[in-house]
């Protein structure tokens, strides 16, 4: 009858599904993806300004100049200084304070979210993988903590411990790890029942390896998105806590503090609120866009789709 052989023809789509992807392919694809390009540029600029604030800021962050109070953006002060984004009610350069404020805001956001993610994801994955008593304990703890009024707890803790950068991050960790734990546990439950995780167990992987090598990479994408969202949330929380006087203490700047301080002048000096607000908005937006992009390039299927059109055009050229 029919020929008995197990030979398969090689994939006829060899070219379009090229095996190795070089860094050039990524660069090319990013350059074609204007939205991601913008987000990357914004975040890179933010990082550069944050790290090099001392050299890049045009003025002293705490340099009072009461004669130049509440100048609009682009104004030139009486002493001949140029204020790109205007000045605040104490005559401090808004652009400079924005740069210094980024330091506090971004590091509070990133550090707080990162620590919450590490603690939460670890707890969630362990709970989801092992189930049983451990899961019950972790999840009841999560439920309990989620039902606490977070602002109240934050105020209470900061009242006892005192404000400041370190305590702020500690409070954020305590109040936000559950979000990650809950999501990670759900994802882990899903992954544990999937055949590839069972296959890893059958292959002889120890639990640690199953979690780190087989579950974690496959649940990273939604966690990554949550992570960037949490950064934005934490920047805003920092703002409200600083506004209430329990976060970063003046005269240090943070975006939240700047918005809080600018609120009373909002009718006469809109820029005091608008620019820190825009800074928060664009940071959150860029982080979201980058999270989307990161999700795409870390997933082999999506990565291929994302890179393919650019590679095709190259092949045509």
């Amino acid at each position: 009858m029919t020929e008995v052989s197990n030979s398969l023809p090689t994939n006829n789509d060899e070219d379009s599904r090229q095996v190795r992807v070089g860094w050039r392919d990524y660069v090319r694809a990013v350059l074609h993806d204007y939205v991601t390009l913008f987000a990357l540029a914004f975040i890179i600029a933010l990082v550069v300004f944050t790290l090099g604030a001392e050299f890049l800021a045009p003025h002293e962050p705490t340099g009072l100049n009461l004669r130049d109070r509440l100048l609009p953006p682009g104004a030139v002060g009486r002493s001949g200084d140029f204020y790109l984004l205007g000045t605040d009610e104490l005559g401090r350069d808004l652009f400079t304070r924005l740069i210094y404020g980024a330091r506090v805001s971004v590091s509070v956001g990133v550090l707080g979210a990162a620590l919450s993610a590490i603690v939460g994801v670890t707890a969630g994955l362990l709970a989801g993988y092992h189930g049983g008593f451990l899961e019950d304990v972790v999840m009841r703890l999560v439920d309990g903590m989620l039902s606490l009024p977070s602002l109240l707890v934050a105020l209470f803790v900061l009242f006892i411990l005192g404000g400041g950068f370190g305590n702020l991050i500690l409070v954020f960790l305590v109040l936000h790890w559950m979000v990650f734990a809950r999501m990670a546990r759900g994802l882990a439950l899903n992954a544990v029942s999937s055949a590839y995780v069972q296959a890893a167990v059958a292959q002889g992987c120890k639990p640690g390896r199953v979690i780190l090598r087989h579950i974690l990479p496959n649940v990273m994408a939604p966690i990554l998105v949550l992570f960037t969202l949490e950064i934005a949330v934490l920047i805003l929380s920092e703002a409200s806590l600083s506004f209430l006087g329990f976060g970063v203490q003046p005269p240090d700047a943070s975006w939240g503090l700047m918005i809080a301080g600018g609120r009373e002048h909002i009718r006469s000096a809109w820029w005091l609120v608008a620019f820190p607000g825009l800074a928060i908005f664009f940071t959150a937006l860029s982080l979201n866009l980058i999270a989307n992009w990161a999700r795409a390039v870390t997933d082999p299927v999506q990565r291929w789709r994302w890179l393919a059109p650019h590679r095709k055009s190259r092949a045509a050229a």
Binding site: M1, T2, E3, V4, N6, L8, N12, R305
Partner: protein, 342 residues
């Protein structure tokens, strides 16, 4: 409510359903892909046509195009499908909804998820009937019970008020059949109706479908990947590969003496219950990727009879016996000496 008889083009003497040169193309990530490519067939009252093919052969898409279930765009549909002379391709929504239910109905593979879990089954069966005929709820309910009895659901008068979760998979499929039959259609399209069911239940449902088709002079179009089901149920079969019909004909002769290398190889790869061979015949290679079909015959890379001429053009359906067609360029050469009739 529009009645079929008043639609333009209606002709009581015209064939029940004729599909001619139907093509469906999708614009995809990898370019234009022809999911269905120039397929023609027709069915007559009381006849069962089986469309056999593997995943991606276009067997379901063909029927969805006929039922007007593909939105266009993205699908680009060309060709004709005439129900009693009424054009279905490109027909207006009002024409289609007049024909659906009363003219043609369709049932799907996954019966359990096709039913609304929050509504009683009796209500779901009667819903379309009441809407179309203007019947009140009481008579709709009576009609639902009748239909449930017709599809052999035990103690229908009590179960009419049950919810879908209270029924097993096979019973849900029966309910779907009852819904499809509510308005006495002339054509019933069944897309893999028993694939999700167990063997013993599959037989029950298949026998029910066959009995219903016989009683009501229904034309049954059965889409399946299971050659055994096709062999048992069909009067005629149409074998599809990569969006095209490769062989058509009456069931017995096609299975006894296939005239296309694909049909032949497919049959050889089926294990038999009655006789056990040491090894199964196999079709080498993987199922076709529609966006990357070869230039000539789509089956060429997997065909054991491939010849240089097969690379030149796509074969058209040609006569391979009484009432039979096959799309193979080497048809005469390969299958000539064999007795074409059984």
């Amino acid at each position: 409510m529009t009645v079929i008889e008043t639609l333009p083009g209606y002709d009581a003497t015209a064939p029940l359903l004729t599909v001619d040169d139907l093509s469906v193309t999708f614009g995809s990530f990898e370019g234009q892909v022809a999911a269905v490519d120039a397929v023609s067939f027709s069915v007559h009252p009381g006849e069962t046509l089986c469309i056999v093919g593997e995943s991606g052969s276009g067997k379901s898409v063909t029927q969805m195009a006929v039922m007007g279930l593909l939105s266009s765009p993205p699908a680009q549909i060309s060709g004709n499908a005439l129900f009693r002379g009424i054009e279905l391709i490109g027909a207006s929504q009002s024409t289609l909804s007049a024909i659906r239910g009363t003219g043609m109905s369709m049932i799907f593979q996954d019966a359990i998820s096709s039913l609304n879990p929050a509504l009683k089954v009796g209500f779901q069966i009667a819903e379309v009937y009441c809407a179309r005929t203007g019947a009140d709820r009481a008579s709709g309910r009576r009609h639902a019970i009748e239909l449930m009895e017709r599809v052999a659901i035990p103690s229908a008068s009590q179960r009419v008020d049950d919810y879908p979760f209270q029924f097993s998979g096979g019973m849900c499929q029966r309910i779907m059949i009852a819904m499809a039959l509510a308005l006495n259609p002339k054509v019933l399209i069944a897309d893999e109706p028993t694939t999700a069911l167990d063997v013993t239940v599959q037989r029950q449902v298949m026998e029910l479908l066959a009995a219903l088709a016989k009683d009501a002079e229904l034309a049954l179009i059965l889409i399946t990947h299971d050659l055994g089901v096709a062999a048992e149920q069909a009067d005629r079969v149409m074998v599809m590969y990569a969006g095209r019909a490769v062989e058509t004909g009456p069931t017995g002769p096609v299975f006894a003496n296939p005239c296309h290398p694909y049909t032949q190889a497919l049959l050889a790869s089926m294990p038999h219950m009655a006789s056990v061979s040491d090894r199964l015949g196999i079709i080498s290679g993987a199922p076709p990727i529609l966006s990357q079909l070869p230039k000539g015959c789509a089956f060429l890379p997997r065909c054991q009879h491939a010849a240089p001429l097969c690379q030149n053009s796509r074969p058209q359906l040609g006569t391979s016996g009484p009432d039979r067609t096959s799309a193979c360029l080497r048809l005469n050469e390969l299958f000539k000496e064999r007795p074409v009739n059984v």
